[in-house]
Each structure stands twice: as C-alpha cells, then as structure tokens.
Symmetry: C2
Amino acid sequence: MTGRQPKRTRNRSATEIRILDAARSILAESGAAGFGINAVARSAGVDKQLIYRYYGGLDGLLEALGRHLAVWWQDRMMQDAPDRTPESYAELMEGLALRLLRILRTEPLALQSTLWELTDTSGLARTVSQARGQALGAWMASVRGSLQPPPGIDAPAVNALIVASVSYLVLASRTSDNVIGLPTADPATWDRIERTLVRVVRDAYRSA
Amino acid sequence: MTGRQPKRTRNRSATEIRILDAARSILAESGAAGFGINAVARSAGVDKQLIYRYYGGLDGLLEALGRHLAVWWQDRMMQDAPDRTPESYAELMEGLALRLLRILRTEPLALQSTLWELTDTSGLARTVSQARGQALGAWMASVRGSLQPPPGIDAPAVNALIVASVSYLVLASRTSDNVIGLPTADPATWDRIERTLVRVVRDAYRSA
DNA sequence: ATTACGTATCACCGGCCGGTGACGTGTCAA
DNA sequence: TTGACACGTCACCGGCCGGTGATACGTAAT
C-alpha cells in the first residue's frame, strides 16, 4: 500500500535506447504523420521530458534517428544476398534495383523513411532522409569493382530513373491497389515489374 | 458609426466557389499537411460553419475538390501541346512522359495532388488522387489512335515504370536538391532527364 | 548522516485542430 | 406587416500538440 511503484529503472543509457527504439517503431508503423514528442514518449513508456534532456528535443532525436537509420540501411542492403558478382554494369544495376524493390516492399521502416524524404519541408528530417542515398552509394561502390557503364550513356540519369521508378511504385502501392494501371495487390504484378525492370535496364545499357 | 459592416455578400453559390478555390490554392501552396477546415475557412474569408453546411464537412469538400481536380488534370493534359500525332507506340509514351514531367514541374497543384496520393491512408483523399490517373488514361486514349505496342513487351508495366520515375523525381526535387545523385537544382539536369527518358522509352519499345 | 547530483515524474501552459449549437440579419412570400 | 427561411457569424467544446517549471526519489561522495 505504501510506495507507489519503484519509479523506473533509473538507467540513462537504457532509457535512451528505449526512446530511440520507440521512435524507430513509430516511424515504421505510423510514418511521419504520427511522429512526435508525445507519441514517442508514450510508446517508450517514458516521460517526454527525458527526450528533451537526453536528445535536446525533436531535432536532436531526429538526428540520432537519422544516424541510426543510416547504419540500418547499410546493413539491410548488404545482408541476405551476396549474389554473384555482376559481369556487366547492367547486371550491377539490375541487382541494385531488385534489392531495393524487395527491401522497400518488406521493410516498413525503409518505405516510411523514403516517404518522409518527399514530405519533409522543414528539413527537420534531413538526416533521416540522407540515410538511404548513402546506403545505395555504398553498395554500388562495394559491388562495382572495375565495371564501367557503356560509353555514350548517361549512367547517373538512367540509374536515377530506375531507382525512382522502384521507389514510386512501392510507395504508391501502400495506399492504393491500382498504381498507374497496375494491380499492385496481385503478387504476380510484382513479378511483372521485376521482369520489366531487368529488361529495361538491359536495354538501356546495351551498347549498340 | 451605426451598422457594423454589411455582413457579407449573401450569395451561396459565390461562397461555395470561394471555398472551393481556397481549398484548391491551399492544396497547391501548402500541400496536404496544411489542409484543414480551419485553414480553408480562413483563406476563403468565410466562417467554417459554411463548409459544413454547403459541403458536409471535410469529406464532402474533398470529394468536390476531387471532381474539380479531375477536370483540371484533363484540361492541363490536353492544352498547350497538340504535338504532332505520334508514329509509334514509343513516341506516344515519350509524349506522355515529357508532358507529365513538365506539368509536374510547373504546376504546384499537380505535384501536391500526386504527393497526396502517397500519404493519404484514411482514403479521405481518394477522389482527389484518382484524378491524375483518369487524366493520363484519357490522354492516352485520345492520342493513341490505332497504335499498338510491339508484341512480347509488357507495355502496362513499362509505362508504369516510366510514369513512376517521372513522378518520383519531381516529387523528390521539391524537398531536396540532390535526388539519387542528380543535382535537381540545375536546369541542365532536367534536360538530361528528358533525353534519358526518351532514350529509355525507345530502347524499351524497340522490337528486335 | 548529510549533502549533492542525476534520474524520472507530474502538472501546467498556450495554441491549433475538427466539430457544433445558438445567434443575428438580409430577402422574399403570404 | 409579418412571418419564415436561408445566409452568415460568433462562441464554445474536448482533444491533441510541443514545450517548460517544479517536484520526488535513488545513489554515491563527503
């Protein structure tokens, strides 16, 4: 009857992790819309005052989350598919496109952080957004070896088109089951998309 | 000193237009984030109660806005470029891609309504979102004539990739000046993108 | 045992949101 | 002239937001 309850664990670094984890899962589950001091504090089971003390408010928390996501993207890109080293620049890009597609489709965190990049005007989520770009670049560098794109082709532009199309299709499929005429609820559609991606990349990088 | 001021125009249909125009310009200028009953009422210089009376609240207003945007997209797609009728299916898609790219880049309303499609989960903005898809389809139908895609090519998938890439690049350029490695602040970058788009479409639809 | 400090909690603020009920006041028909 | 009614306005509600000051409590050095 006496003591209320033992007040909490009283462990700063553990609390900091609780907060960061809560931030991460809120972003993954609710997206940028549901993200805020109150929501993070509630989800972490912690008073929001601690977010101000340990992270310096929303800005600091987002910076920390950005750093966290940067390594998360790196890990996620590298893992689970040491597919054979590509024999051409086109194959390299095929690998990147398919890998990105699968990550975006299976990892809510990946999807939401990509989406946030499009909506954040305040620049508050800048560090969060940059994470993906860095990871893509790092993967390219690590797998590329000495492969060069065929001459006379604007490789950065082609690659941007590919990555952009993958990103948009997955983002749009989240809220609609018919994206630009494709029934994205049907798994077979994604097979078509993958085959078409491969085909388009090969055609774009064929030298002739 | 006596009469306050004449209370307002006392003209329902004019007020309805004021409200709808305010909604449209708020969407164009502030996007989905800034959109709400209070903001629309303020911008229209009208009490929000009227939005409930005339449109039945946010839902009704959004439906009306959706219908409005549907015809707006149609007009915007058709106007300002009766470019020569295409001689191949590839040319047809080139035209669509370039037209969409330019509309998205120059019309904030087009960009924001496309963006809303990605963020709206409540389905509240469904009618707003569908407007674009309908307009693209209608334009295709009107220009297509008897052109057919080459056999053995998944034309819907290719077209979706193209439209998706254009959409993503423009959306992302709104909040960042470096999108997937491309400096989108530099006008020359958009020339590269256009050239690359044309090239990719042609390669994708070459029959051989 | 007392002090000092870091950890955690609570209570409160102003502001904006969507939504609603009650209140004028022009207009036009009975 | 006297209604009835539609158009417009005002005031208010509960709820959530980001942010801050004061307070309780465990712990470790003095």
